[in-house]
């Protein structure tokens, strides 16, 4: 585990200068703290729950959870780096799941129609969020809460109106089931691969493409970013749409896995995704963070969430650990950020 993370840091960080920049380069990376957090959690649960935790079944248990949270945590992380917040994913996940289930299950339309409509719901809610945040100037904590309740109400109302029920069943064809709802080897959800794909795309956007620089700049100082010629409005709307899309993707894949969708459910994603992002070293006020950190944060959170069942402890203890971890992460990330700010490669040359 330790060696794996270290090589990853090296590859993302070493495309430029000489390889000798060790401590300074490491400490400057937003995920510096979360590497330690993940190691601590992994060692703790391996020690307490024994070998089962490192067997495939143990890995699968948290990977499956991590994949679903991870897919939404990535765009939430991007939004937070850009200085925005999106809570509406909690409503978009069930809304899109139900959209798919009603269209392709209740009405029996081809899956592609249901999936497209569900993704459309996510993109539309995202666009509305972005548009309202820009137009009203209201902090983006509030706007998505508003859309969340609106979407929840609409989902319930429309579901009852159209189908007379608050849940719908859907039996996807083997092709779609294989694409989005399959278990590989009987235990690894196919969403794990989608998560990896999402992570690669978001990492490209944030760390490799020039667009990523805009995200950091907007999160650092929106007015200066706009004055520098960055299309901040288009950027904000795109990021909200990305998070809407990711939430819809998770909703649809849940419907494929469980072959049904309910009006409720999805609220847990709101706090979980934010916690993954914060544990992963993203600054709450924007301008700082990394995809690698978000992925580490997601794994850490899921390990605690699931690992607790492998121990003899009361599962409620898991929440306590997560709470403590979150606090510790914020404190640790603050310390590392201070070190990053004050660190220069050649001190007092």
């Amino acid at each position: 585990m330790a060696t794996a993370t270290r090589t990853d840091t090296a590859t993302t960080g070493a495309q430029g200068q000489a390889t000798g920049r060790s401590f300074g380069a490491l400490v400057r990376r937003p995920e510096a703290g979360s590497v330690l957090g993940l190691l601590a959690v992994f060692i703790f649960f391996t020690a307490v729950s024994g070998p089962i935790f490192v067997l495939p079944a143990g890995f699968a248990s948290w990977l499956n959870v991590a994949a679903e949270i991870g897919i939404v945590a990535l765009p939430i992380g991007l939004l937070m780096i850009a200085g925005e917040l999106d809570l509406s994913i909690g409503a978009v996940i069930p809304a899109s799941a139900l959209t798919f289930a009603v269209i392709s299950g209740f009405y029996g339309a081809p899956e592609i129609v249901g999936v497209a409509a569900a993704f459309g719901v996510g993109l539309l809610v995202g666009a509305i969020n972005g548009f309202l945040v820009l137009r009203t100037g209201v902090p983006s904590l509030i706007v998505p809460i508003g859309t969340m309740f609106a979407v929840m109400g609409l989902t319930l109302g429309l579901s009852v109106l159209l189908t007379g029920a608050t849940s719908s069943n859907v039996v996807p064809s083997p092709f779609w089931k294989g694409l989005m709802g399959q278990f590989i080897g009987g235990m690894f959800q196919v969403t794990i691969f989608w998560w990896a794909a999402f992570a690669a795309i978001v990492a490209y956007i944030l760390h490799v493409s020039p667009f990523g620089n805009w995200v950091y700049a907007v999160g650092g100082d929106k007015i200066s970013a706009r004055n520098a010629g960055i299309p901040t409005e288009r950027l904000t709307i795109s990021l909200f749409m990305l998070s809407g899309f990711a939430a819809a993707f998770v909703g649809v894949s849940q419907a494929m896995v469980y072959q049904s969708a309910q009006v409720a459910g999805g609220q847990a994603f709101i706090f979980n995704s934010i916690m993954c992002v914060v544990i992963g070293g993203v600054l709450l006020t924007g301008g700082f963070g990394s995809v690698f950190g978000i992925v580490l944060g997601t794994i850490t959170l899921s390990m605690v969430n699931q690992g607790i069942y492998f121990t003899g402890f009361d599962p409620n203890l898991g929440s306590v650990i997560i709470g403590a971890l979150l606090l510790l992460a914020v404190l640790m990330n603050d310390t590392f950020r201070q070190m990053a700010l004050s660190y220069s490669s050649k001190k007092k040359s």
Binding site: G16, Y204, P210, N213, N227, A228
Partner: protein
């Protein structure tokens, strides 16, 4: 005589009922440092924001190279070579030097079909640009802006503006909150920019700083140009008086003496303008 790079004719600006700028007439030439002086609230920042395209004049006209121009947004002014450096220079404290230097104009290279931010070029260019201005302590483009000193940030921001071909460089109190040594660094960079033929508009509350670099001085009092003169035309004392809003500081000195007499020799506690001058 060279034609002015930037000229304002009868520029007025009001925010709703509040008139902030009255009939401003000013010119700046290439290779000239215009010091914009005036008390707090005189309208200096409003004036430069108008030049930078942040505000639109309520009436009046701006000219560049003799041609009338209007700026609808800051980008328009920037595209014409008007660069503004705000008080704290680096506005992205958590970005690296290389990344923040190129915000909005990222250098890219292609890897297959993908556009890639060229970090190496960005870092090297940024470091080279500041070093050319004599700030050799900045040598690592991966350092975060927030880790630089105030003077280094200002220097970096000025170097950035010059690098991107600024013709008019607007500096809003670049030496405020800087120590003596740091401030002298920034002043040297102002002179360096001037030497490269850039028109510099320099706002300061410190007469010493203004006298050190200024070729041309304009004093704003309550939104109007109260004095407009060239280097050597007025004494340091006259400038100081003008900056205090026209009241002779000599009066203040007498007032102070009176105060000290009645207060057993203690000067008044709050730091007054007189101590700055």
């Amino acid at each position: 005589m060279t034609e002015p790079v930037l000229e304002l004719r009868d520029v007025n600006k009001s925010f709703g009922p509040i008139d902030v700028l009255h009939d401003i007439n000013l010119t700046v030439k290439a290779g000239e440092v215009l010091c914009l002086l005036g008390d707090n609230g005189a309208g200096k920042s409003t004036l430069i924001k108008t030049l930078a395209g942040v505000h639109k004049p309520t009436s009046g006209q701006m000219f560049m190279d003799g041609k009338a121009v209007t700026f609808d947004k800051p980008k328009d002014a920037a595209d014409r070579g008007i660069a503004t450096v705000h008080q704290f220079g680096g506005t992205f404290p958590l970005m690296t030097i290389g990344r923040s230097f190129f915000v909005g104009v990222e250098p890219t290279r292609k890897i297959g079909p993908f556009k890639v931010f060229d970090r190496k070029t960005a870092n090297e260019t940024a470091v080279k640009a500041v070093q050319e201005f004599g700030i050799t302590r900045i040598d690592d483009g991966d350092r975060l802006i927030g880790g630089l000193s105030g003077g280094e940030r200002q220097s970096l921001a000025i170097a950035r503006a010059v690098h991107f071909g600024a013709r008019v460089l607007i500096l809003d109190e670049p030496t405020a909150a800087l120590g003596v040594k740091q401030a002298s660094h920034v002043l040297r960079i102002v002179l360096e920019a001037k030497k490269r033929g850039i028109a510099v508009i320099f706002i300061t509350h410190q007469v010493t700083h203004a006298m050190a670099v200024g070729d041309h001085f304009a004093v704003l009092i309550r939104g109007a140009v109260a004095a407009n003169f060239m280097r050597g035309e007025k004494s340091r004392e006259e400038i100081t008086d003008l900056m205090a809003g026209g009241e002779a500081l000599a009066d203040l000195d007498t007032a102070m003496e009176g105060y000290m007499e009645t207060h057993e020799g203690h000067p008044p506690q709050p730091a007054s303008r007189a101590t700055v001058a």
